[in-house]
């Protein structure tokens, strides 16, 4: 029997980036807010201090900061005709857990999407004709435009202290920045990070090939910064322990380093960690959320009533809670009906590993940060004419090698034995003179009718709830896109003077065991039509108006950028809609 807690104005499920942003905005508006987080509380000095923040075995190999699959997992299959099996070790993505969520262990690559990304269906149809898109591709417009999101991108970048070079300020193209980006209202709050040797050479080679390289926008600080909430960050030390690690010296933007210190000072905010929300409760009409049920580590069940529910967990968990709570109609790919679970996407990542003459090139790859590097955007989105190529989509590409960590940084030329004396010799010879750019080609993944999330018919979690089933494969469009981009990427390394360039194309079938990124998107998408989207343009549930669902689960398809900037901008956008409109007149903000 669940014990009932006193009512709150707002209950927030998951205290990562979006939960923290929404909690701050609504507490700032005077509402009584509680956040419920499945994982533990985390602080810099107590949980990932410099004394062991750079423990590659602990964090990179043993996954300390992630959800443990023994707590909960998903099942996976490529095709609808297959039987899905549970994931028992994380591979293609790393589900976050704990306060700060993925914001603790991200690389801090802080991008904006292109203006055309938000009106993708309309844009591509107008430029290439409806027949150009593959028949089973289900891309949609977002219902929100870049111009509407611009102030909210700006807020997040100034919250984080993003280090970068603007490419377009109010329509004026800025030298050294990304000329393809949408117009921004002002420069980044901090100058770009310094670039190490190899990254600088890549930029030079790209420029010589006629591209316009620019430094990757980074949430790692190029200098000390105090954000508008008064919270301070220190300068990055370029230690190269960002992705999958917490930053030990307050240099990487995270909820802990930008927003939580200000949030926890608010007397009308409380947080409950180590508590897993199991259900969003709705009243008899099914049209109003009454709060949430959650279970603590003792196994005791509690009910937290609230007037407004904000679902801000990781993509798959957002979809899972909607499905398990019966909110919104579940997607059925056969009938092509329902919305919850549809348009699930990931990313199309590939790499080019280049080997240079050790006598001439010493790259010191360990000097790096998570969002270091020089990039080009000529082949992203619809920045180039896709007509001759027969595919849509694209991505940024760059030499964005984030580290030279010893366990994983062992690039050796193809043909080298995978162990033994010859392998060791090759590692030693190439460690300083090879470039393994990481997510070098950061391609989009568009949505398809047969790529989706639903509830698994067989496997259940510890509360006897069905696991979420992932059905995902690559389609020809993405494979073609990746081939084209990877070849273009390799040309730049050749121009840098590599003696050997090894292309690692992304190929089908989608491999759940190989890491790409943690950028799972979709499943509870925003849009303009309740028949094809779970949320309206303000991330408000079409079905339950006092429920807002934040995160990349709202993306109708994934663009060729890291998603966090857009995820956070959408959270500010939704918070603004709640503060400006919803609170004055609680109810459906859009009449569809």
């Amino acid at each position: 029997m669940a014990r009932k807690l006193p009512r709150k104005d707002v209950v927030i499920i998951g205290l990562g980036w979006t939960g923290s942003i929404m909690a701050y905005e609504l507490a700032d508006a005077g509402l009584d807010v509680i956040a419920i987080e499945r994982g533990p509380w985390r602080n810099t000095a107590t949980d990932y201090p410099p004394g062991y923040a750079a423990d590659e075995l602990r964090y990179r190999i043993r996954h300390e900061l992630f959800l443990s699959p023994s707590q909960t997992t998903f099942t996976f299959r490529n095709k609808m005709s297959e039987t899905a099996l549970p994931i028992r070790t994380w591979g293609a993505f790393m589900p976050p857990n704990g306060v700060g969520g993925g914001g603790v262990h991200w690389n801090a690559e802080t991008w904006r999407f292109l203006p055309s990304d938000f009106v993708l269906k309309t844009h591509l149809t107008q430029r290439y004709g409806a027949g150009f898109l593959p028949e089973d591709m289900t891309v949609q417009d977002w219902g929100v435009t870049y111009d509407e999101l611009e102030p909210h991108y700006d807020r997040f970048e100034y919250l984080c202290g993003t280090s970068g070079q603007a490419g377009n300020i109010k329509g004026t193209i800025m030298e050294g920045g990304n000329p393809f980006e949408g117009p921004r209202s002002r420069a980044y709050p901090n100058p770009p990070q310094d670039q190490p040797f190899g990254h600088t050479l890549f930029g030079k080679a790209a420029r010589e090939l006629g591209y316009k390289p620019f430094p990757q926008p980074s949430g790692n600080m190029s200098r000390p910064y105090q954000n508008p909430l008064g919270v301070r960050l220190g300068p990055c030390t370029y230690c190269g322990f960002c992705e999958w690690f917490g930053c030990g010296n307050y240099s990487k933007a995270s909820p802990q380093t930008t927003i939580l210190p200000a949030l926890v000072r608010k007397p009308n905010f409380t947080a409950r960690d180590n508590s897993e929300v199991t259900r969003i409760n709705v009243d008899g009409s099914g049209k109003r959320a009454t709060g949430v049920s959650f279970v603590d580590t003792a196994g005791d069940e509690w009910e937290q009533p609230a007037d407004l529910v904000v679902l801000s967990a990781y993509t798959i968990f957002n979809v899972q809670l909607l499905l398990l709570s019966g909110i919104g109609k579940a997607y059925d790919p056969a009938a092509n009906t329902g919305v919850v679970g549809r348009n699930f996407t990931h990313q199309t990542i590939s790499d080019v590993v280049s080997f240079f003459d050790p006598a001439k090139f010493v790259f010191n790859p360990f000097i790096a940060s998570g969002a270091i590097g020089m990039c080009i955007d000529e082949f992203n989105g619809d920045n180039f004419d896709h007509g001759p190529h027969g595919f849509v989509g694209g991505g940024y590409m760059g030499h964005v090698q984030t580290n030279g960590r010893p366990i994983e940084t062992t690039p050796v030329p193809p043909g080298t034995p995978s162990w033994g004396a010859a392998w060791k010799k090759a590692v030693k010879e190439n460690y300083q003179s090879a470039i393994k750019p990481g997510t070098g080609v950061h391609g989009s993944m568009y949505s398809y009718r047969d790529v989706y999330l639903d509830l698994d018919p067989t496997y259940k979690d510890r509360f006897n709830r069905p696991l979420v089933r992932i059905t995902m494969d690559f389609h020809d469009n993405e494979i073609k896109q990746n081939k084209f981009l990877t070849d273009k990427f390799a040309e730049i390394f050749q121009a840098m003077g590599a003696k050997q360039v090894h292309k690692e194309y992304r190929k089908a079938p989608y491999d759940i065991t190989k890491y790409q990124t943690t950028h799972l998107c979709g499943g509870a998408i925003m849009g303009t039509d309740p028949n094809t989207s779970a949320l309206n343009r303000y991330l408000q549930s079409w079905d339950v108006p006092n429920l807002f669902v934040l995160g990349a689960s709202a993306f109708p398809q994934n663009a060729g950028y890291n998603p966090t900037g857009t995820v956070a901008a959408l959270a500010y956008w939704a918070a603004d809609a709640i503060r400006s409109n919803y609170l004055k007149n609680p109810g459906q903000l859009i009449n569809a």
């Binding site: 810099t44 000095a45 410099p50 909430l229 008064g230 030990g248 307050y250 200000a262």
Partner: protein, 409 residues
């Protein structure tokens, strides 16, 4: 006529009786507001509220003294266990003279030698404010000292030696700001209660004001200017530290973190600037330079420093303004007594978060990672590389580790 006079007389005594038992100032909004502010300036809550308690001023916090533990009493208006039944005069006698209601004497853990400098009106307004807080029934056995220290009679002698009654006297040759700062520092702020060296009997060494003392496991460093350790701090640096807990040199943690959180961050900018102006005018002696650190120890300490400390404090010790202390200028690092530097290396430290500086960065613990020899080496390095504070021995590190293991706070 006679009857009428009698009636008037009765009314008068009744009125006087009421005013004696209950502060008339409770009806005075301005007095209560002033009292609230002055209670913050006097940092009453630091001792009289258990940290994190929802019942401010209800007492029960153990106060560690060199002589044993005293427990701060309940000063809520509860009539039985608090001070609700006290008259204003009784409250004033306790605050400014160290005299209890029963005529016995208070121990100087209650900083009445400082509060004696306060005006009667200020103390009365604090009383007015305290009369408005929630009365809490909480009986506190304040005196838990061993015999013979538990005999309050002894305090009669102590008072004769160390207690100098008398309100603060303005110095006419000094500015208004200086006088305000002096009043706050010497009176309600009772800065010297921690920062002034003590005699074996726990009285202030009045010839060495604010020149540093060690208590409750922390160093309250020498905060004098002139040739003293704060010589390079400007008045603005000092005021910023008091107001926000942070400045370009240092961060408040431990006891001073509490003082900033509960007291100085709640003062007006004018008042923290006044305190800074006065403190900048207090000169102290130059710290004795000590160049006896062993070169091998310095080399080992420097290596540990670059490995573990430089990511935040920078290779040159300069840190990050308002975030990471500058080790060359942080008074607790370069002071003669290494207690705080050892404690912070071993145990870590949480700096204070304030409205103006909400970050509250923390120093991680290294006691699990470094042995006593290593702790001593890195402590010696940070004290002796940029400054010339005395080296620290492994034995001192060992003792500090044991002391921290024994501590409950």
């Amino acid at each position: 006529m006679r009857r009428a006079a009698q009636f008037a007389f009765v009314m008068l005594t009744f009125a006087v009786g009421v005013s004696k038992a209950m502060s008339a100032d409770v009806q005075n909004f301005a007095a209560v507001e002033r009292g609230r502010y002055l209670a913050a300036a006097a940092d009453c809550g630091s001792c009289h509220t258990v940290p994190g308690s929802d019942h401010p001023f209800s007492g029960g916090r153990p106060i560690e003294t060199p002589f044993g533990v005293l427990v701060a009493p309940n000063i809520t208006p509860d009539r039985e266990t608090g001070i609700g039944a006290w008259t204003d005069e009784e409250f004033d006698a306790a605050a400014r003279k160290g005299m209890r209601r029963d005529g016995k004497r208070l121990y100087p853990a209650m900083p009445f030698p400082y509060f004696a400098r306060m005006t009667q009106e200020d103390v009365k307004d604090i009383r007015a404010y305290l009369s408005t807080v929630e009365p809490v029934h909480n009986s506190v056995a304040a005196n838990q000292l061993p015999f013979p220290l538990n005999q309050r009679m002894a305090m009669t002698v102590w008072d004769k030696l160390y207690f100098k009654p008398g309100e603060f006297m303005e110095q006419r040759n000094k500015s208004k700001q200086w006088n305000r700062g002096a009043y706050l520092v010497e009176g309600p702020g009772h800065c010297g209660a921690c920062h002034t060296p003590k005699t074996v009997l726990g009285g202030d060494k009045s010839d060495k004001p604010l020149q540093g003392y060690t208590l409750q496991g922390w160093v309250a460093p020498d905060i004098t200017s002139g040739q003293g350790p704060l010589a390079e701090w400007s008045a603005d640096d000092l005021a910023q530290y008091l107001k926000t807990g942070h400045n370009r040199f240092a961060a408040a943690a431990g006891l001073m973190g509490e003082v900033v959180e509960l007291s100085t961050s709640r003062l007006s900018d004018d008042d923290t600037k006044a305190m800074a102006a006065y403190l900048k005018d207090v000169s102290g002696p130059k710290a004795a330079a000590d160049s006896s650190a062993d070169a091998h120890v310095m080399a080992a300490g420097g290596a540990i420093y670059q490995d573990l400390c430089s990511a935040c404090h920078k290779s040159d010790g300069s840190g990050v303004p308002n975030l990471i202390p500058n080790l060359a200028h942080a008074a607790t690092v370069n002071t003669g007594d290494p207690t705080t530097v050892l404690r912070v290396i071993l145990q870590g430290a949480q700096s204070v978060a304030t409205d103006k500086e909400p970050t509250g960065p923390a120093m991680p613990a290294f006691g699990w990672q470094l042995n006593d020899v290593q702790v001593a080496a890195v402590a010696t390095y940070v004290r002796n590389h940029w400054g010339k504070a005395p080296p620290v021995s492994a034995d001192q590190a060992k003792k500090e580790r044991a002391a921290l293991d024994a501590r409950t706070n």
